[in-house]
């Protein structure tokens, strides 16, 4: 047999194999597809890990994908979930508006979607939208931040990616609290796109323009870590840093006294809850819950940081 023929046979075999596996997975309607943003943020990784563990526990197969915050890629992933005849989709979506059509498409094909972490701008399309109360969490962090600053001083706000709803909601939560204190002055506000590297270099520049600052409040933990590194490089141990998410990196920084506080979003629990609801929906035809479910965030400071691990608080 010539090389080309061998290759052809092998690739045909592979294709058949893939098709068989796909239909085998689909045959018993036991596949739960979990789609989140990129796992390079531990927050999303824990969502995927939590959902997968719960799905296995309840006797489902779980497939994990990442849309990298690209609505187009998310659309493709949902198409393939439909093609695999998934029983349910657990989705942390790539954009409140950009996701609506894709979730509708899944619904039309008979695949129910359970949204976590981020809402979409439409009701009645997803079976459930389980969202951390970002606003409530942000106000908790802001209250603790204001108190630690003695209700006065200059501060910097690092905002998340401005195309992401949560960046805006958190910023609003911060300001609804902080702006009540006339002696708290925001001297700079910049987006660092959720990125540690970007937060580092922007913080360095902001420190040059405004050396007289006492605090930095940041829309997520990775940016808080970047800001902390820049402040350390500049020898500024006097500046208070607050983050949001509740990552292990920030937990360690809080315990080391380098970061003041963060807001924990129960990512792990949230993802598990979504799978539990999916299971109930598949068995009983209803989740027995309203579509929109809000889960409260928890303030993490030196007091309770030691109990935090992988976005879950141990009792």
């Amino acid at each position: 047999m010539s090389l080309r023929k061998t290759l052809k046979t092998v690739s045909l075999g592979l294709l058949a194999g893939i098709a068989l596996t796909a239909s085998a997975l689909a045959a018993d309607g036991k596949l739960i597809v979990i789609i989140t943003p990129s796992h390079d943020n531990p927050f999303f990784k824990q969502e995927a890990v939590g959902a997968q563990a719960k799905a296995k526990e309840l006797g489902y197969d779980a497939a994990i994908y990442s849309h990298d915050d690209d609505a187009n890629k998310q659309n493709d992933l949902i198409d393939s979930a439909i093609a695999q005849k998934a029983a349910a989709i657990i989705l942390d979506n790539a954009g409140a508006d950009a996701t609506v059509a894709a979730v509708q498409k899944a619904k039309d094909a008979g695949v129910p979607s359970f949204l976590i972490d981020r809402e979409i701008n439409a009701n009645g399309i997803a079976v459930a939208q389980i969202v951390s109360n970002n606003y409530q969490g942000a106000t908790l962090v802001a209250e603790s931040f204001v108190e630690a600053m003695g209700e006065k001083g200059n501060f910097v706000e690092l905002v998340g990616k401005e195309s992401d709803t949560n960046a805006g909601v958190r910023s609003k939560g911060f300001h609804d609290v902080i702006d009540q204190y006339p002696d708290m002055k925001m001297v700079a506000q910049q987006s660092a796109n959720w990125s540690q590297t970007e937060a580092f270099s922007k913080m360095e520049s902001i420190l040059q323009a405004n050396p007289d600052i006492q605090g930095v409040i940041s829309g997520n933990d990775t940016m808080a870590m970047g800001a902390m590194a820049a402040l350390e490089a500049a020898g500024r141990k006097d500046v208070l840093v607050a983050g949001f998410d509740g990552s292990n990196d920030v937990r360690d920084a809080i315990l080391a006294g380098k970061i003041h506080a963060t807001g924990l979003q129960p990512a792990f629990r949230q993802a598990q809850y979504a799978v539990e609801l999916a299971d109930k929906y598949l068995k009983e035809g209803s989740t027995g819950q309203p579509e929109k479910i809000s889960m409260d965030c928890v303030l993490i400071t030196k007091e309770n940081a030691a109990k935090l691990d992988n976005f879950a608080l141990k009792d």
Partner: protein, 350 residues
């Protein structure tokens, strides 16, 4: 009679075009002065030694990449993988500091010291460049495609190394004798951060290689006219292989500096850095078709981009406007570049 009338008439535009040509040749430098003056007036505390140091530190990271990129572009190629190499090299260094090299068959773990970590990381970057070069010269893959593929492979490998998470606290442990990694990013000599000294060295060596060595002349020859270079005995493949290795090596330096500054390595570090590096080279007058450009121009180009982004942050301009302004400046630079070439051609013909 017609001659005497014609001569002054012809000279006037020629004199003008010489001046214009000079201005256009210095355009990147003039642009740099313009942005510096602008931000000195507009941004608080922009003019200070401390800020100059911070800006230079930020520029250095892009400049390392842009220097390597310039060599590649001079041969008529492109290297899209440098940003991913930044991420990969950071992860390699992070893994070595945190976990060492486990030798399972002997049941021991070797913890390399900081110099060895840096050495291994630089080798990894250079090796990625070598693979790029081999794909391009031996497999005849177009540079754009070969390095685009490598972008994904290197980024994916970086993510695989930690399952996507960050390697934190790269400070090493005294019992392993591997402390000191953060010094690369935070250390200073005479009050100037190490990364800036490093840039001076790398830029100096690169400029020397490009202008004063036979290898440098071969790079320009390959980019200017590959066939002519081959016919005159230049080993085109070897030159190409070398420039991609240089680019990988330079990207590795940037990767080490980024990881060291953050005292942590994140697999997504360096995303879109390749675009900034290409922009710096082009702003500095490097022609994407090869054969034309200088290391000095690239450094000035990197400074224009760096001053622009830091200055806009200090002014408090929104992220969205920053992107728009950067885009306009890059395209504007290329338009001026085309004008200069047209005028230079006309002046020669005239």
């Amino acid at each position: 009679m017609t001659n005497t009338v014609a001569t002054p008439a012809a000279e006037a535009p020629k004199g003008q075009s010489t001046l214009l040509l000079l201005l256009l040749k210095l355009r990147t430098f003039i642009a740099l002065i313009a942005v510096v003056v602008f931000f000195s007036l507009m941004a608080p505390n922009f003019v200070s030694v401390a800020n100059a140091v911070i800006v230079s530190k930020h520029v250095a990271i892009n400049a390392f990449l842009a220097i390597g990129m310039t060599f590649v572009i001079l041969t008529g190629g492109i290297d899209l993988s440098v940003g991913a190499i930044v991420g990969l090299v950071g992860m390699v260094a992070g893994a070595l500091v945190l976990y060492g090299i486990p030798l399972e068959m002997f049941g021991v773990v070797i913890y390399p010291n900081v110099w060895e970590v840096i050495g291994i990381a630089l080798l990894v970057g250079t090796f990625v460049g070598l693979v790029n070069g081999l794909l391009i010269t031996r497999m005849q893959v177009a540079p754009f495609i070969a390095t685009l593929g490598m972008l994904y492979v290197a980024r994916g490998t970086a993510l695989l190394m930690s399952g996507g998470s960050t390697f934190p606290n790269l400070i090493g442990k005294p019992e392993f004798g591997n402390q000191g990694f953060p010094a690369l990013g935070a250390g200073t000599i005479l009050g100037i951060p190490l990364s800036i000294w490093l840039l001076l060295v790398v830029a100096g060596v690169a400029a020397y290689v490009a202008t004063k060595t036979p290898f440098g002349r071969q790079i320009y020859a390959v980019g200017g006219n590959e066939r002519a270079a081959t016919l005159s005995g230049v080993s085109v493949d070897r030159v190409k292989l070398a420039v991609y290795m240089i680019s990988g090596f330079c990207a590795a330096i940037a990767g080490l500096v980024v990881a060291s500054q953050l005292v942590a390595s994140h697999p997504a570090s360096g995303e879109t850095f390749e675009m900034n590096a290409i922009a710096a080279a082009v702003l500095g007058g490097t022609s994407l078709s090869g054969g034309r450009g200088t290391i000095g121009g690239t450094i000035v180009g990197a400074f224009v981009i760096g001053v622009l982004s830091d200055g806009l942050v200090m002014m408090g301009v929104s992220e969205f406007w920053q992107m728009v302004i950067k885009g306009v400046v890059i395209v504007g630079a290329v338009i001026l570049d085309q004008m200069q070439r047209r005028i230079a051609r006309n002046a020669r013909l005239g």
